[in-house]
């Protein structure tokens, strides 16, 4: 990996790549600052623009929008008490009270520095951890890969919001949707019911964009317009002085660590990391008494952790092809459009591309500082933009994006129907991330199971007994399912007693 860095830098230091990094980060910050857009929709919105690009600039654009949007969410959280992205929800607790005291610039200063530090450390973690993880997985055969994918799916489901059963159901629906079309081994059509358009299956991106972006618009159409707090008085970011960090560096380091560790775990996401980090800061920070009333440590806890997740979430995505969260699932689907299949072979086959992506991710996080300083004043008036303008634009861009995937009207119809399905299921408390991740991982799960059964002559018990790594992974999977179940049973018993 390190040997490929000079070539990677040559790839990065082109006008196209640098402009992509700059524009992507700008776009990410602006889209992230707009309440209702969120990182997943932001990444989905830029999808059509990547189709005219080479592999490296396309991935860098997605990464820049991803990292930029996570930071951008803090701008609206602090200035109007409405998080631009769910990841910044915890930033509201202390950011908005500071802004109400006339310290909006200072609050955004703390958020900017914490975000940049969190993002930079996560870029280093990505650079160091992903190749190691990929090298470890390189020795995996079908049985181990099946066990690994099953574990990834289980982790995603067990930590996703809402009930475990509905999470598992969403995952199963996703896996089923992925099985529609030609059988991966025999090629025989399944569940196509005579419709030739279904022979190639449901397009992943059409489903993902429908499920996330379109259903979000539908939810907002059905709701009353949310009351938005008054825009705080803001005259530009004021960065905290070095002296102001006294007694806060430990909190920053802890938050960055929490973000990275949670980011690497499949399925957790930045919002979970931000809340866990905030709770930990509230418990252990020397300034914990001020949490919730405008304490800078509260902003640092949330923002350092949510930006630290970005690199961490990319570790399993790039190294194993297992998306860390819904955003990385969208990115994974987009990468396949560019002929890139993330997974352990990617690092081996394309070291220059991977080194360029990782180095580019580092630069993106560096860019957050100057661009945050420059853009926050421009982004602030955008927060006054009415929701209808943004949501209509989202639908138009979704249509453009899906048209370019295959140029097929059927995919546009699939996107529309996926939007309706997503809307209906979300109303019933069914989480959407497991559905999408089930769709991403379903084909690998099926193929490795069937290949494994050929190897073991149809004996499934040999998966656990004949392959020690797979056996260990199955044990962890059982644990990942049992822990939340036991917790739910205990909570129910406590409720019944109390």
């Amino acid at each position: 990996m390190l040997a490929a860095i000079p070539d990677a830098l040559a790839l990065l230091l082109t006008a196209e790549a640098l402009l992509t990094l700059l524009l992507g980060t700008v776009l990410g910050i602006v889209l992230g600052a707009m309440p209702g857009i969120g990182s997943t929709v932001a990444v989905a919105m830029v999808l059509p623009f990547t189709l005219s690009m080479g592999q490296a600039p396309a991935i860098l654009l997605l990464l820049a929008v991803y990292a930029g949007s996570v930071y951008g969410g803090s701008i609206s959280a602090i200035l109007i008490n409405t998080p631009g992205t769910p990841q910044s929800a915890a930033t509201c607790f202390d950011g908005y009270p500071m802004a109400q005291r006339g310290q909006a610039g200072q609050a955004l200063g703390w958020a900017t520095v914490a975000s940049v530090v969190g993002g930079l450390v996560s870029a280093v973690v990505l650079l160091l951890a992903a190749p190691q993880l990929a090298a470890l997985a390189l020795n995996f055969g079908p049985v181990e890969t099946f066990a690994l994918v099953l574990l990834g799916m289980t982790c995603i489901v067990s930590v996703s919001s809402g009930s475990l059963v509905k999470g598992l159901l969403a995952g199963a629906i996703g896996i089923f949707l992925a099985s529609v079309g030609g059988d991966p081994i025999t090629g025989q059509p399944r569940f196509t019911f005579g419709n030739w358009q279904l022979i190639s299956g449901f397009n992943l991106l059409a489903v993902v964009i429908g499920i996330f972006a379109l259903s979000e618009v539908f939810v907002r159409v059905g709701k009353k317009a949310a009351q938005v707090s008054e825009l705080a008085d803001f005259r530009g970011i004021v960065l905290p002085r070095w002296r102001a960090w006294a007694g806060r560096k430990k909190n920053l380091a802890k938050s960055v660590l929490i973000g990275n560790v949670i980011g690497v775990l499949p399925g957790t996401g930045a919002a979970t990391a931000a809340f866990i980090s905030y709770a930990e800061g509230k418990r252990s920070s020397p300034n914990r008494a001020g949490y919730g009333s405008g304490e800078p440590d509260g902003i640092v806890s949330s923002e350092a952790a949510n930006n630290a997740v970005t690199g961490g979430a990319l570790v399993p995505t790039m190294a194993l092809g297992i998306p860390g969260d819904a955003i990385t699932a969208v990115m994974l689907a987009t990468l396949t459009l560019h002929g890139i299949t993330p997974g352990f072979r990617l690092m081996e086959d394309n070291p220059t591309l991977i080194a360029a992506i990782f180095a580019g991710f580092f630069i993106i996080n560096l860019l957050l500082l100057p661009l945050g300083l420059a853009l926050s004043r421009i982004a602030a008036p955008i927060l006054r933009m009415r929701e209808g303008f943004m949501m209509t634009g989202v639908v138009l861009l979704c249509g453009v994006g899906i048209f370019f995937v295959r140029g097929n009207p059927f995919e546009l119809l699939v996107m529309g129907l996926a939007g309706i399905l997503g809307f209906v299921l979300r109303r019933q408390g069914v989480p959407m991330a497991p559905l999408v991740i089930g769709m991403v991982l379903g084909p690998t799960l099926e193929l490795t199971l069937r290949q494994g059964l050929i190897l073991t002559r149809g004996d499934f018990t040999a998966f656990a007994t004949g392959y020690p790594i797979a056996g260990a992974l199955f044990a962890v999977t059982a644990l990942a399912l049992a822990v939340p179940l036991a917790r739910a049973v205990r909570a129910r018993a406590a409720t019944a007693q109390g």
Partner: protein, 152 residues
Amino acid sequence: MPGLLSERVMVLLAVLIAAAALLSTTFTAEYAGLGAAQSPVFFPRIILGVMIALSLIAIVQDLMAGQRAEPVEHWLALVVFVLAALVFANAITRVGFLLSAAPFSVVALAIFGFRHPLVIGVYALAVPGSLVLLFNHVLKLPLPTSPFTHWF
């Protein structure tokens, strides 16, 4: 039992029935003759079985918890918007991007509460028009055009 008629239970019931119906189609002669794991329906059968079991558990859980879906404030607006989005998606390749996006934008903005005709008109022409200019002429990724002219 009013809980049985709740939206949550009805939707889960629909998932259960759909999974059961799909599972039954895997036992037709179309897939017969291929042994165990190498059958194209081996894996889908497992998944559909899991879906049936999970939706049953979820129905029981929802009946016991008595939770209801969050109410929708504007059903009519939602239905009109969904239909408009489906028509837009279906019309892109038939009448071109601009001719499908402009009317959709008018409907969408009206649903979102915009009433000023100038604002609606400018947005409906400017935003889809900019996208056509950007993709067709800058990025050289042509969006579908109408049967009337190659310009849009």
